[in-house]
């Protein structure tokens, strides 16, 4: 017997390591399509801007829409003056409701209140509603 020949146990260990490596490789190659399949559709794909007819947003009224896959709101705070912001409450993610008579947003989940510009008035929300740029383009409002 060749004294330099590897012991059977060493061979077994080498083969087991090789097999484990191969198994891990095949596992990873199989897991990748599953991960991609389950991944959400790419947010913000296509244009980030949303066009909304000016006539849809009356003075003092709110218009809710989807922006980059999330609820947003467009408001005509004064004639010809528009603001847009995320409609997702910064506390625990509920969607705020526009209180027309009070002129403020109320989160129905835990009573958080926001001003028409999205600033926190009271309640648990830790920060203001995320602001979104808005500009008038003829009869259209370009949001985002």
């Amino acid at each position: 017997m060749d004294p330099n020949a590897p012991l059977p146990l060493q061979r077994r260990k080498f083969l087991m390591t090789l097999l484990a490596g191969l198994g891990a490789l095949i596992g990873a190659a199989s897991a990748w399509p599953v991960f991609r399949f389950l991944s959400p559709a790419t947010a913000g794909s296509g244009s980030d801007q949303v066009l909304i007819p000016r006539g849809d947003v009356a003075s003092g009224k709110a218009h809710f829409f989807q922006h980059r896959g999330k609820p947003a709101v467009l408001l005509q705070v004064a004639p010809g003056q528009f603001v847009a912001m995320s409609a997702v409450c910064t506390h625990l993610g509920c969607v705020v409701a526009w209180q027309e008579t009070a002129g403020e947003f109320l989160c129905p989940c835990h009573g958080g209140r926001f001003s028409a510009e999205g600033q926190v008035l009271s309640g648990p929300p830790p920060k203001p509603l995320e602001s979104i740029a808005v500009e008038l383009d003829g009869d259209q409002l370009r949001v985002g």
């Binding site: 399509p33 599953v34 991609r36 399949f37 389950l38 991944s39």
Partner: protein
Amino acid sequence: MQPVKWLVDFIDVRLGVREIYASELKGYLLPPKVNVWYTLGAVLIALFKLQIITGILLLMFYVPDAEKAFASIQYIMNEVPYGWLFRMLHAVGANVIVIALLLHMLSVLFMAGYKGRREFTWLSGFIIFNLTMGLCLTGYLLPWSQLSFWATTVATDAAGAIPVAGEFLVEFLRGGATVGNQTLGRFFALHVVGMPLLLLGLIAVHLFCVKRRGVSSPPFGKEYRASEPQPFFEYEKHQGGIPFFPNYVVKDAAVICFFIAFLLAIIFYAPGMFFPESAFQPADPFLTPPHIKPEWYFLWAYQTLKIFPSEIIGLGVQGLFMTFLALLPFIDCGPERRPAQRPLFMTCYVLGILGFVAISIWGHYS
């Protein structure tokens, strides 16, 4: 201390897994001359697992509504990342399962594995085979293509040949006078919940029967002796046999890899093999496509109905054949298992296979 050893020790102290390993895996001995055909059970379990995984993934995007089903499949195939892969693995995998099932049954018939008080094993396997056909039939409708719609119309219509209850049975199967949304709803429920649950239970019964009675030895070689079954329960031992783990598991894994490679080869090199043109058109209840045919494994039944002068005779012949096959262990109960020593059975076996192939080809071109 090595982390793997530490983990095994940790579990072993609590669950005694080393004892299970010694008795149920390393100590579970299979016949010394076990051959490659014995691996088909493991292949089928692996393929069924693949169907469950891909089926769950497809369920996340599939919409079981006649208005939306076809579009949801198109969305899976064209928009969802790797959706095409999982859909093809599921659809083509079903065909590969039928191939493996047929090979498994044919090998058991050839080696008379159903003999030696293994009637329950055979019967549970036979029901699994029929349930798989049911899963194929119900799954076939779900894409709501012209092919699925009209193949289901023809398949359910065949039940109308049964005297007295035929018409009622057709409407009962469809959930209405014609195939429609209500058919899709019940086929969907059966395909994703009812039949898989039943199948899992039956597979458990089948494996229990195999394990409890013991695997039958291949009926080949000089040492084979035909033996009369005992009038009491007896476990078939295999002294000096092959340990199930790791020896036999490696063989199982090799054949499973072969079947997975076969499945992937079809998906990558012949993706249209099981999809005729009508599979890519949305169902139109007012337009029957020409030459509508069932899947290849139903062609024999389809053509049998056409050969006989009336559908009821055709259905009767099919029923008789399937009943004979189900009850075979009770009919062919002699001790001899060597193929060469069973000339009558082997003649029927070969003629049966040739007949199945010939009638299927006839059905395809008719």
